[in-house]
């Protein structure tokens, strides 16, 4: 349906009285030239592969490129999976399902949605599009946000990985589960009480009335292009920091208890490691206290560079500037309480 746009635009160009579409005048009709442009790009890529690749060999650049590609490649299947699930929610699940499945009272729906996060076995890249799909389907934003925060941290895959990474410390996985769920529910409730609807942009989706599969494809394409671009932004930032900041700087502060918790929390934000792998990284930070490691595990799946980019892109900047600091502060506080009482 939308693909007719190029043709319709060129048809409109001739009519002076027609209201110009918003993209009017941004570029000359590129429609027909484009495939040839792409053919050229592909040829350049093939030529460049054999001429340039052997010259781009500075070790720092290569390391950066490897980490960047690794973050993208590793996140992409989860993103595609999450986007497919989200598109399926919008295309195949009727809106009435959610009003029946979730408790009517939003204050009760928040913890229910948080616990429901345990069933989505993925990392944080998958949860953002799924949460936006839920919102687009009329689920209370606060409940969808609780789901968004809880699911990457408390699903079985991540908990098993945590238990494996901390042999002999089963309380670490327990504390991670408890602290993450508590933070998700608290943030959900706070958003319910103090959040304003104008802060949150419930993502627009192409809602054509074509066949279900066409709608499914539309929704997937739309989400992939939005979330994918921001995932790249996050990947660029994370790769740069990963290569530019020596980790020894951070271990130098490991001895100061309060500072070490904050540093590990910040490190979780900067490194943007997938929640399925972060337990292994946390375990390798042997200089830090268990509470600091717990803060790393609780903050990481909820706030990190690629997530901030994804959330800002999906729900709007006004949302991200409020949601991210709130989540970060609560995650640090709750980790300290859990770490102090359990570990």
């Amino acid at each position: 349906m939308f693909e007719l746009r190029t043709d319709s635009r060129s048809a409109w160009d001739d009519q002076d009285e027609a209201v110009p579409p918003d993209s009017w005048g941004r570029r000359a009709s590129p429609g027909r030239a484009l495939p040839w442009g792409f053919a050229l790009v592909v040829v350049l890529l093939v030529v460049g592969r054999f001429t340039l690749a052997s010259r781009l060999t500075a070790p720092a650049l290569q390391t950066w490129a490897t980490v960047f590609v690794a973050i993208c490649v590793q996140a992409l299947p989860f993103l595609v999976f999450g986007v497919a699930l989200s598109a399926a929610i919008t295309a195949f699940v009727p809106a009435s399902f959610w009003s029946r499945a979730l408790p009517r009272n939003p204050a009760v729906a928040v913890p229910v949605a948080g616990v429901a996060g345990a069933v989505l076995p993925g990392c944080e890249c998958a949860s953002v599009p799924v949460a936006s799909g839920l919102m687009a389907r009329g689920v209370t934003p606060a409940a969808a946000l609780a789901f968004l925060l809880a699911s990457p941290a408390i699903n079985p895959v991540v908990l098993v990985a945590t238990a494996v990474a901390f042999p002999g410390q089963p309380m670490m996985a327990v504390a991670r589960f408890g602290a993450s769920l508590l933070v998700a529910v608290l943030v959900g409730w706070l958003w319910l009480r103090f959040g304003r609807s104008e802060w949150l942009r419930v993502p627009a989706r192409p809602h054509g009335d074509g066949r279900k599969w066409t709608r499914f494809g539309e929704a997937m394409r739309h989400d992939l292009l939005h979330a994918g671009g921001f995932l790249i932004v996050g990947g660029l930032a994370a790769a740069t920091l990963n290569v530019a900041v020596p980790r020894e700087w951070l271990t130098a502060v490991a001895d100061v208890p309060w500072l070490s918790v904050l540093v590990m929390a910040l490190l979780a934000v900067l490194l943007s490691i997938c929640s399925e792998a972060d337990a292994f990284v946390a375990a390798s930070m042997t200089a830090f206290s268990p509470t600091a490691k717990l803060a790393f595990l609780v903050v990481g799946p909820m706030v990190d560079l690629k997530l901030i980019a994804l959330q800002a892109g999906t729900f709007g900047r006004a949302f991200a500037v409020r949601f991210v600091p709130l989540t970060f502060a609560l995650a640090v506080l709750v980790s300290i309480v859990f770490g102090w009482s359990l570990l």
């Binding site: 190029t6 319709s8 490129a65 590609v69 394409r221 790769a239 390798s284 042997t286």
Partner: protein, 275 residues
């Protein structure tokens, strides 16, 4: 970004993913081997999605486009399509008003967001830079000690004759944590790449260990003594015996187990560069 570009972008990204996963083992430079089916599936989904979109775009270009503009014209009001899902349509349009700053995300869904152009970066990176596995640069700059193996007492005795092939991680585990000291007097063969050491008379045979992807890699290093250092980053097989540490307790700072090298051979980089 118009419709054709969007779909070509998805197709190219899918091709790039398939190229490193289905048609070569390059993906092993970035992620764990178990990731392959997911990568292939994701790449295939992207290619199918992109090609289907292209097909739609070209097919509808042939037919007349009279109905669609009207559909777009009252997209904002959306009155024509009543029904159960209608209220959410209004919500999202209200939300849009405040966020005109967000590039390209207007009502017109045929134009993707500007940020989506960035998705060409990994495509270019894969085809142009072809990033190799992490090497001595990455290994030299992060000195965090790797996590210890799970069970401290589960090392099986080393049997058989001649040098035992052993992952570097296992060697480190046996060197530090094995109560039976099973490495004592045994010849072992380690495979890894060369990282120079600041201390004289030794170098490190190194393997990166990844938990999920190369972003979380940390180096597993064994200090080799008694052999001339090969060039940095070269892949080698080292045969030697463990030098038991002389200190009783682990000292502070990062220390590496030591190997008295007896034999050295240059080898090709393995397909699976990480442990």
């Amino acid at each position: 970004m118009n419709r054709v570009t969007q779909n070509l972008l998805l197709t190219m990204l899918g091709c790039a993913v398939l190229r490193i996963s289905a048609f070569s083992s390059t993906y092993l430079n970035y992620v764990k081997p178990g990731f392959r089916p997911f990568l292939i599936a994701a790449g295939a989904v992207l290619v199918v999605l992109g090609l289907a979109g292209l097909l739609q775009a070209f097919r509808s270009r042939g037919s007349s486009g009279q109905e669609e503009p009207r559909d777009h014209g009252d997209h904002g009001g959306h009155r024509d399509h009543g029904g159960p899902g209608d209220h959410e349509g209004h919500e999202e349009h209200e939300g849009h008003g405040d966020h005109g700053d967000h590039g390209g995300h207007g009502h017109d869904h045929s134009r993707g967001p500007r940020v989506a152009w960035l998705m060409f970066l990994p495509v270019f990176a894969i085809f142009l830079v072809a990033p190799p596995a992490l090497g001595s640069f990455a290994a030299a700059r992060s000195d965090t000690p790797p996590p210890r193996g799970q069970a401290l007492s589960s090392f099986t005795p080393l049997t058989g004759k001649g040098p035992v092939d052993m992952p570097i991680g296992e060697f480190i585990g046996r060197a530090w944590d094995d109560g039976e000291r099973s490495l004592t007097g045994r010849e072992v063969r380690l495979t890894g790449f060369v990282v120079p050491s600041k201390r004289k008379g030794q170098w490190y045979v190194t393997r990166m260990q990844i938990a999920c992807c190369a972003a979380d890699a940390f180096p597993l290093k064994v200090a080799v003594k008694g052999l001339q250092a090969p060039p940095e980053n070269a892949w080698v097989e080292v045969v030697g015996t463990w030098i038991p540490q002389t200190f009783g307790e682990m000292p502070n700072g990062v220390v590496y187990p030591e190997l008295a090298g007896t034999d050295l051979a240059r080898v090709d980089a393995p397909a699976e560069p990480y442990e």
